[in-house]
Symmetry: C4
Subunit: 311 residues, 4 copies
């Protein structure tokens, strides 16, 4: 019965389905990620530590990808979507829809975290929602640079961090290198986020994702932290939004220049044959996800990037 009710809600537009998946994937990412910061902050390190926050964003990424990957390819990051467009593996037409869905998911997840930790935040701050000071809580939602960090240092930090992310993601999805085993890509992308947090987190909180940073920042602006969230760190807010895109492009360029383009060609005729054989195998194997993998064999594809109409 419930099944039938649910089926009435089915949406036939492929792009809409994909946007829902991107929305929900980022929502899960931020729910777990910012949730872990809220837990560590409001419990004053008694119920977690810096490593918990790294694990929170890493596993948040993992489960965000499990939620979305079969539907939208699980970019979950505007900088990733943009890079895939530049690489010709995603459609420019879909880009704005994906980005908006990602931002909306991050915004609503930040609201959910604020709801779940409302009592804790009120108790910890005494009701004063501040961006800096001993009981600052704006850091639950978005990133702020360390006091010592110059603007230029922050730009370098975000470029290197996002480039490292893209190198890892492209390597994990490159079928001619050592791709992640089918079904474990979400875990390994999560591990990449973990190691970035462990090795590149102390300067400015490893945003490496415009949606992860800007959506929750917007929420904290509206919800009572005020315009200090945009003014803090000499107007830090735009660095995680725009510089991460530069970093992502740089990382993709590096991976392609140093590894990707040098893979020896398989001759086209043979490749076609192979695809036919593969398709057959896949049908026999019955594991749908493997399918996406092979479909893109011919164009150096990141794993299971599907799109409404890749131009």
């Amino acid at each position: 019965m419930m099944d039938r009710l649910l089926r009435r809600c089915r949406i036939k537009s492929r792009l809409f389905r994909e946007c829902l998946a991107e929305f929900f994937g980022v929502y899960i990412l931020i729910l777990f990620g910012c949730g872990s910061v809220a837990q560590v902050t409001t419990s004053q390190n008694t119920k977690g530590e810096y490593l918990s926050i790294n694990l929170g964003f890493a596993l948040g990424t993992t489960f965000g990808i499990y939620v979305a990957k079969g539907v939208s390819g699980a970019h979950l990051n505007p900088a990733v979507s943009l890079t895939l467009c530049v690489l010709g593996r995603f459609s420019w037409t879909c880009l704005p829809f994906y980005v908006c869905s990602q931002l909306l998911g991050a915004f609503l997840a930040a609201a959910t975290v604020a709801l779940q930790y409302y009592d804790a935040i009120m108790d910890f701050t005494g009701g004063h929602l501040t961006v800096s000071g001993a009981t600052a809580t704006a850091g639950i939602f978005s990133t702020y640079p360390a006091d010592y960090l110059s603007l230029w240092g922050g730009v370098v930090d975000q470029i290197i961090g996002t480039a490292a992310l893209l190198v890892c993601v492209l390597a994990l999805g490159d079928p001619r290198n050592t791709p992640a085993p089918p079904g474990l890509e979400p875990v390994l992308v999560g591990a990449a986020v973990l190691v970035i947090g462990i090795s590149m987190g102390s300067n400015s909180g490893y945003a490496i994702n415009p949606a992860r940073d800007f959506g929750p920042r917007l929420f904290s602006y509206i919800a009572g932290w005020g315009d200090e969230v945009f003014r803090a760190g000499h107007g830090w807010w735009w660095v995680p939004v725009f510089v991460t895109c530069v970093g992502a492009l740089l990382g993709a360029l590096l991976y392609e220049l140093l590894i990707g383009v040098h893979h020896p060609d398989s001759e086209p005729e043979e490749a076609e044959d192979l695809t036919a054989v593969l398709q057959q195998t896949v049908e026999l194997d019955g594991m749908q996800p493997k399918f996406d993998f092979f479909k893109e064999n011919g164009k150096d594809g990141i794993f299971s990037i599907t799109s409404a109409d890749t131009g």
Copy 2:
């Protein structure tokens, strides 16, 4: 010889076998989970920390599922069993049997933890078994809200936590999304419990499972902690029992509405053909667990949910 003796104990009732598996699975979950709290509490954080407790429940879940999954589908959580009934993937008739087995497993595991840590608890408390105070030990068995948490805040906390669990579990088991690799579902569900503990644990101890909370609470009531275990936190005990069920249903609804129902239909004829082919493959592959996976291909199934007689 021992083999033959054991075989005499074989039980032919499918439901009874499944209930034994649910019992033993929850027993293992709580043995490791509550055991890790006992270790951290009685050693006063010298032999573990908050993260150990998160890992204890996460790996407890993992091994509880390994113990039960091939037999009963490893719900290990009344809120999960209930949700599967509502989704039409589990039989209402079996529900009470599963729930009782889960509660019994949790109760006996709590007793085992108390037995294993008897000397430690006596040494730590000086023999005073209390629910609050510096040497409180009731928290070994069941969850209690933080001082700052309002009842309404606790309800929201348990709804969000259990909803997040169900979203992750349904995504991991959705064969048309990115399902967990066969044989690794228990690890990934454990990872979901880990991240919930890391990001949603400080408010009220992430019960997210009525059996996990109520079985041990009942044990602590009987074993000497007294009726304070039910009165503490303004009568907190019912929140993890009933509110988690609401959260589980909400999470399932969200996953289905945002992801599940929108998967494009495979046409029925083709699907049947495919099933035949799959079955063939599975026989060739010889990995029994894969079988469950595919059997349910047609109905959006959570992984390997089997039941005595799904109505």
Copy 3:
């Protein structure tokens, strides 16, 4: 050239090969396990913490199994070997050879740890090798009970701990339940050791393995810690040696009674057919390890237990 020299050393006796593998597997287990205790002890918690020790023994177990599993089945634990004999899955004739190899591996690994940490131990203790006190170092090698633990409490602790280990190991290797994916059994058995250390480690250091405890204890007796290593804890030494065997048998009994014996029979004729098909598949798949898995399909086997001549 080196290849040829090496090949001259080939040993043809299957039992001898297996004993070498058990020796080397336990050596690796203890090298990493006791090494992590040495690191945490001599660095006074600055280069690790209790969780490091848990990870050290867990990953030590993982790599010990990777080293030995393809040759000897990687028991790496006399209590496991004994239990497999009682279950009829390992030969009583081979048992003493396996146990001696395991003990020798643990002894030599303890010596290696002492060699690697010689300077550190001398610096930390000022040359006084003691079993108790602020600079006690005997705990690097073998387990000692907490001050509060009664003998009876220690017996219960070791029974529950070793029983939990066997339940996990038997579940992971039960082909009719949810077996671990081929090639990942070592990781999952390591995870079982991790969670036992996290939830059952504070009472007496989770020996759960006679060789892990007695081999290094013997070394520390000879190497200068004196007979206090046998007298400490009211003569604790025999508990990890003998009581763990009782625990292992209890765990195996529980798993078989609650899960193992109730698996529905496949009829014998069909099973034979299936085996033939499987063997064919395995040849096609070319993954040798899978082979062991299926060979034992018919007798409820723990994964890849091979033996010189199982009676």
Copy 4:
């Protein structure tokens, strides 16, 4: 369009491609590894702890291997390349090219870490770049022995550590033992690095890799830490460079003598047949990485070691 531009940069020399992969793999390893030390050092343990550093090098190794393995086999360590030459599994002609690429990658990664943490290092040290003292930062780049460690003790430490690494790596890649599942070798080699850091890290910082230590040391020498980086620890610098090679050879010898050479021969005719069947399967499976695995079946190979022209 970008695709076409990239394709113009394609390099046809196999050795050059492999050197690029070794370069980039070590770069990623050191970027994450030394980055995690920089984070823990400059944040004074508030944004990480010793375990973070262990995880940083472990996951750095994992992603370094994912980046390079499909192209060069991902040695990422001159001691590993050398050992493979001695074992006859890698070409002596290629050895110097691999080693130089690895050193260059480590050098440039150290420079990148210094760039990313420039502000942090300046703030932490007040601009005084020192090798020892309360604000020492040379340890971000390369290893230094603990004060108590004798030279002989350091030599033993590096021999045991690197031998342990090789035993684990050879076991994981031995197709006649329990090889790591295809696609997860990078994770498991990372786990080996993790456990070595947890159990053998406190004496001298587990270099176990000449490139990991010497490349960054050279950078720190040039970048302002001065010749103290070579004089510290009574001229410690050569131990991680040369002694690790001895350790690697010892580890390989031990694995081969105790496990490797004793694997029973498959008769040659049968083996050939099997290879044919495998190749067929592999084509059906379409997972290129598996291919490398089997190609070397006949010569006891470490996983996917490919070389320009193995003599």
